[in-house]
C-alpha cells in the first residue's frame, strides 16, 4: 500500500469523523441518533437477553428460587416496617401521610457497558425506554422495591442508567432498624459504602439500608424507603468523625433483564 494513498484515506475519514463528532456534541445529529437507536434497540435486547440466559445456564435453580424468595420477603419486611411507621405517625397525630401510588414503566435491559462476564460487574445499563415513553433524566430505576440506579442519559427510544454501585453514584440513605442516616457511595466493581454516619449512631450488620428520599418538585429523584442493600461489615474508629459500613445490594445487576422506571411519585 502506498503511503500517500493511505494518508489521503486517513485524512478524509478523520475529517469526516471529526465533523460528525462536533455536530453530535452540539446536538445537530439528535434526530438521526434517536432513529438509529430505535432501529438498533430490538437487536440489542435480543442479544443481551440471549447472553443473559446463557450465563444463567447451569446455575443452581434451587438457589435462584431461594434468592427470589429472599427478595420477596425483604420487600414484605420493608412494607411492614413502613406500615408500622405510618400507624405510629397517625396515632401520634404528628403527621399524616397520604402515600401516592408509584407509577412505574417496565423496561428491558438492552445493554450493559463496562461489563465483562466473570471479570467485572455492570456499572450502567441501557434500557429500551426513552423520552417518548415518559422517561426523564433523574428518575429512579427499581426492581421490586430494590433500587437499581438513576437515569443519567436519554434519547427518544432508550435511556442510560447509572447503577447505585457506580463510583459516580452518591445519595442519602437511612438504615431500617436503627434509623441511622448517612450517605451511600458507589465504589465501582459492585461495591458500595455507607459513609457519614455519626459515631453515636448504632449500625448493625445485616440491617437493611433504605433510601431517605430526595424527590424534587419535578418528581425526579429517589423515592423514600427503597431497598439499597444490606450492611455486610462495619468500620468504626473512635478517632474518626464518622463511621462507615460496607453495603451489598440484594440484586445481581448482571442478571437483570427487566427493570422499572419510577416516572411519578
Amino acid at each position: 500500500m502506498q503511503k500517500r494513498n493511505f494518508t489521503s484515506y486517513f485524512l478524509i475519514f478523520l475529517v469526516m469523523s471529526l465533523i460528525i463528532f462536533g455536530a453530535s456534541k452540539i446536538g445537530l445529529l439528535r434526530p438521526l441518533d434517536s432513529l438509529g437507536k430505535a432501529i438498533a434497540s430490538p437487536f440489542q435486547a435480543l442479544t443481551y437477553g440471549t447472553f443473559a440466559k446463557i450465563t444463567e445456564f447451569g446455575s443452581n435453580s434451587k438457589l435462584q428460587e431461594l434468592k427470589a424468595q429472599n427478595l420477596a420477603l425483604t420487600q414484605k419486611l420493608v412494607d411492614q416496617s413502613k406500615l408500622i411507621a405510618d400507624n405510629k405517625a397517625l396515632r401520634d397525630q404528628f403527621q399524616t401521610q397520604n402515600p401516592k401510588s408509584t407509577n412505574l414503566i417496565e423496561a428491558d435491559v438492552i445493554g450493559a457497558p463496562a461489563f465483562i462476564p466473570g471479570i467485572s460487574v455492570p456499572e450502567s445499563l441501557i434500557l429500551n425506554r426513552g423520552e417518548n415513553d415518559g422517561v426523564r433524566i433523574g428518575q429512579a430505576v427499581v426492581y421490586q422495591d430494590n433500587l437499581i440506579g438513576k437515569i443519567v442519559g436519554i434519547s427518544s427510544f432508550s435511556a442510560n442508567v447509572m447503577l447505585i454501585t457506580n463510583s459516580a453514584s452518591s445519595f442519602t440513605v437511612k438504615t431500617m432498624a436503627t434509623q441511622s442516616q448517612g450517605v451511600i457511595k458507589g465504589q465501582g466493581g459492585g461495591e458500595m459504602i455507607l459513609d457519614n454516619v455519626v459515631l453515636s449512631d448504632n449500625l448493625q450488620t445485616q440491617d437493611l439500608v433504605l433510601t431517605k428520599g430526595d424527590v424534587d418538585t419535578s418528581n425526579l429523584g429517589f423515592p423514600p424507603d427503597l431497598v439499597v442493600g444490606e450492611i455486610s461489615a462495619i468500620s468504626k474508629n473512635p478517632s474518626d468523625l464518622f463511621q462507615k459500613a460496607d453495603v451489598k445490594s440484594l440484586i445481581d445487576f448482571s442478571k437483570r433483564t427487566k427493570v422499572f422506571v419510577v416516572v411519578n411519585y
Binding site: 469523523s17 463528532f21 438509529g36 442479544t47 461489563f115 471479570i119 432508550s158 466493581g189
Partner: protein, 137 residues
C-alpha cells in the same frame, strides 16, 4: 475478504454493543489491517465506529476518529518494521484498547480489560490468518 471482514465486524459490533466493553471492533479492524493492508478498511473503521457510537451512547464520530487514527499509526509503523507478528498484535491490542477505554470515559478495570483484549487480539489474528490462507491458498 471484504465479506469476511464485514461478518467479523458485525459479530464484534453485536458483542460490544450489548455485552461487554472489550473493544472487539477495534481488535477485528487491527487484525484485518495487519493481514490484508487495504485502504477499504478505513471505510469500515469509519462506518462501524459510527454505528458503535450510536448504540453505546457515545458522541457520534468519537470511535470512528479513534479507529481511523489507530489504523493510520499502524500503517505508518509498517514501513519501518514487520507488523504481522504476535508481539506486535499483542502490544498494539493492549495499547489500543487501553487508549480507547480511557479516552471514551470507562474507569473500571481498564488494565485488565486491555490485557484480555490483547489475548483476544492474538486469537483473532491467528484465526484470520488461517482463514486467509484457507481462502487464498
Amino acid at each position: 475478504m471484504k465479506f469476511l471482514a464485514f461478518v467479523f465486524l458485525i459479530i464484534a459490533l453485536i458483542l460490544e454493543a450489548s455485552l461487554t466493553t472489550i473493544p472487539f471492533v477495534l481488535l477485528v479492524l487491527l487484525c484485518l489491517l495487519v493481514i490484508v493492508r487495504e485502504n477499504w478498511l478505513f471505510i469500515f473503521a469509519f462506518a462501524f465506529g459510527l454505528v458503535l457510537d450510536l448504540v453505546t451512547f457515545k458522541a457520534l464520530g468519537a470511535s470512528s476518529a479513534f479507529f481511523v487514527i489507530l489504523l493510520f499509526l499502524v500503517l505508518l509503523y509498517q514501513s519501518k518494521f514487520e507488523i504481522a507478528t504476535n508481539t506486535f498484535i499483542f502490544f498494539v491490542s493492549f495499547l489500543g484498547s487501553f487508549g480507547y477505554l480511557s479516552l471514551l470515559g470507562y474507569n473500571n478495570n481498564i488494565i485488565s480489560q486491555a490485557l484480555v483484549s490483547s489475548f483476544i487480539g492474538l486469537i483473532l489474528f491467528k484465526l484470520l490468518q488461517r482463514l486467509k490462507i484457507h481462502i487464498y491458498g
